[in-house]
Symmetry: C2
Subunit: 225 residues, 2 copies
């Protein structure tokens, strides 16, 4: 764990890139050489990406050195919360862009430095559409869908659920307040992507959280030598 | 009210447009000539745009002829709900685009036809970033922010709260379940846009809904001759 609460802010305005996938491969190669397991974490605004990250740092921060790249159009409130946990963090400002691409990600990684990182998270811009279109070189893509958003979202935002490896259903502690049919949601996801793993959690109460930690621990172990 | 539950689906893939604002003015001129009051309704996925529209049709559907353009990347579930209410509706599929621009909007209006419409809603793609960047020719821009998303969202997605005329805080019936500080939220909005009106509602229980209906009724009356 780090002592300092400080972090840098990098302006990563999107540039016109001919071949995003080639840059993503460059990211993948770099992080493999450095033994870093990289997760691209995506969701709508307010689904609980930061709260999930904070609890994850609590649970796995002693076993793995965790680094976080916080991508936002503006503000640094999330980076402040992560820094307060003692994890390594950089705030990326996307200059109006609604997503991160591989080039922006690579610049973030180079600025932050990952020699002292085992698990690297990119907390993408809150958006269920565009981030799904860009391979940023992650080992795994994780999407969070929170109960208040509704069980029909895979129908409206199919690409996100097609390209992701794991879906965390967050805020399950509010299931009694919302009309969310978890079986219908699972069917909607499976119709798009039969390989997607689904784990219901509450980042607030920790219900189901150990299943996510187990998945992450296994996935990271299998990459990090 | 219309008898038929049928609606058309238009593929409105984004085209490269030199001057979005010029097309937006064209939309504005066309709708003024036809005496149509036009609202661009925006929010994150699952904030309650459709539920708000359905209740609005219930409340004002006898006084005004309401038309709805449902913009989604995919699916027609929202258009089906609106059609079932007897309102005129068209489903716009954006072909992967995360927002509507003025050109896509104009094509939607021309396909739908607005000679029998007094109030036209565009239910934009669920996204708190990109739709804010495009003037689609609306008379008013309305953003919905739901309580589960959190009171810090204006800090992270400032443009949406800068360009909109009215913010509906939806799902206030869940205020007891979430840590949402309504005064802090109002301060965050006012810091960006001192002219923005804020109305707390629950589209589910109807709490506060009459204030929104009153605002809409007055705004529509002031345009429609």
């Amino acid at each position: 764990m780090r002592d300092s609460l400080s972090f840098e802010i990098l302006e990563t305005k999107e540039r016109v890139i001919e071949n995003n996938d080639a840059v993503a491969e460059k990211v993948r190669k770099l992080l493999s050489e450095k033994n870093v397991f990289f997760i691209n974490l995506m969701s709508s605004p307010g689904s609980g990406k930061t709260t999930t990250l904070l609890r994850t740092i609590d649970e796995l921060g002693k076993k793995f050195r965790i680094g976080v790249m916080e991508a936002d159009v503006d503000s640094s409130v999330d980076a402040e919360s992560v820094a307060a946990k003692g994890a390594k963090v950089i705030q990326l400002h996307t200059g109006g862009s609604c997503h991160m691409d591989a080039d922006m990600t690579l610049r973030g990684i180079e600025k932050m430095g990952v020699d002292d990182v085992d698990i690297l998270f990119l907390e993408n811009v809150g958006n269920l559409v565009c981030p799904a279109e860009f391979d940023v070189g992650a080992d795994k893509r994780v999407v969070i869908l929170s109960v208040p958003e509704g069980d029909d979202k895979p129908l409206k935002y199919p690409l996100m659920f097609t390209v992701s490896d794991l879906c965390l259903i967050n805020k399950i502690d509010t299931m009694k307040v919302f009309d969310f049919d978890i079986e219908k949601f699972k069917q909607n996801v499976k119709a798009l992507n039969d390989n997607e793993k689904i784990i219901p959690i509450s980042a607030l109460t920790s219900e189901g959280f150990s299943d996510w930690i187990k998945w992450l621990d296994n996935a990271a172990e299998s990459k990090i030598k």
